[in-house]
């Protein structure tokens, strides 16, 4: 049964997001109406914040601003996801006992699957709401991809600050192939 996968995140034990991958097209950075220079001038209040006063309304600058806005939004999303799974995991432990583990939650729009290794490495995956449990998939990613291509890579640092050592070709390719196989 094909499963629509939206995105995938890895958080290290220092709560930092070391890897993000989206399988949906990144959202348009600005509403289409404000991408033309004329309307940039017309509505400076919304766009000027990032471009520094709205004086440079040329395409290059607004494209750069759009890129920073998009990456900022992506990192905001990762932080929100971490906060959510962290709180829910603590809630599950409080109510279900110390051996309890948070598995997944579902809203009407999406479902988030969670897997945490004993070393506090956390995997989160967002899929369509009707998806079956994907914990084994996350476990497979940990065993077959993370351990094989990141942990066993002699050039990879012990700590993956800013995602260093995770974004290697083998891991990226293996992950993409594996997840596309599910879809």
């Amino acid at each position: 049964m094909p499963v629509q996968v939206f995105s995938f995140y890895i958080f290290d034990r220092h709560t930092e997001c070391v890897y993000t991958k989206l399988w949906i097209a990144p959202p348009p950075a600005l509403p289409p109406s404000s991408s033309s220079p004329a309307s940039d001038l017309a509505a400076p209040a919304s766009a000027s914040h990032a471009t520094g006063g709205g004086s440079g309304a040329n395409g290059l600058l607004s494209a750069a601003a759009a890129a920073t806005a998009a990456s900022r939004r992506a990192s905001d999303d990762a932080k929100l996801i971490f906060g959510t799974v962290f709180s829910l995991r603590n809630m599950a432990r409080k109510l279900g006992g110390d051996d309890d583990a948070f598995i997944s939650y579902r809203t009407a729009q999406y479902k988030l699957h969670y897997y945490e290794t004993p070393s506090n490495l956390r995997f989160a995956m967002l899929t369509e709401p009707g998806a079956p449990g994907m914990r084994n998939v996350l476990h497979q990613i940990y065993i077959n991809l993370w351990v094989e291509y990141v942990v066993k890579n002699p050039l990879s640092p012990v700590e993956h600050k800013g995602g260093e050592g995770v974004r290697n070709e083998m891991f990226e390719m293996g992950l993409d192939k594996f997840v596309r196989g599910l879809m």
Binding site: F6, L95, G96, I103, A108, Q109, L126
Partner: protein, 167 residues
Amino acid sequence: MPNVSSAGRTIKHKNEGVLALIIINKAGGLIYNRTFAEGLNQLNTNDYLVLAGTFHGVHAITARLNPLKAHQGATPAGTRPEPPSGLEVLETENFRMQCFNTQTGIKFLLFTDTLQTGVNEGTMRRVYELYADYVMKNPFYQLEMPVRCDMFDRKLNSYIREINNSR
């Protein structure tokens, strides 16, 4: 037999049905908290209040995280876009939680064991109905304040017992 331990007694929190109900008001305050069966850790009142507040915040975040929100096209003129829903079902190894968010922002959290499949939207609506009938129609109930209504307790108890016995 997975439900029977070596000593022959059933392991708790495996086959108990509905375990607990929590009601959170629209400001994130805990207004009702009742346990129906063993299976969840008993927390003190303060921890329950913290839990309610935390969940209220997490619920708001989960509604915002929708990965497809940027991909939804414009809605036809004269209609409103579907409001984003927050967390509806939470699953852990030891329990399952169903969350029902009413139009007025009150959240009903129903905790069940992991095998419980009969508890669904219909159950939540029934509980909401009981709340509407025996809490909201109680002239002595003050809005947003903790629920202390005997009738509600009684009706809720008998409804949950009905579910737990029918398994």
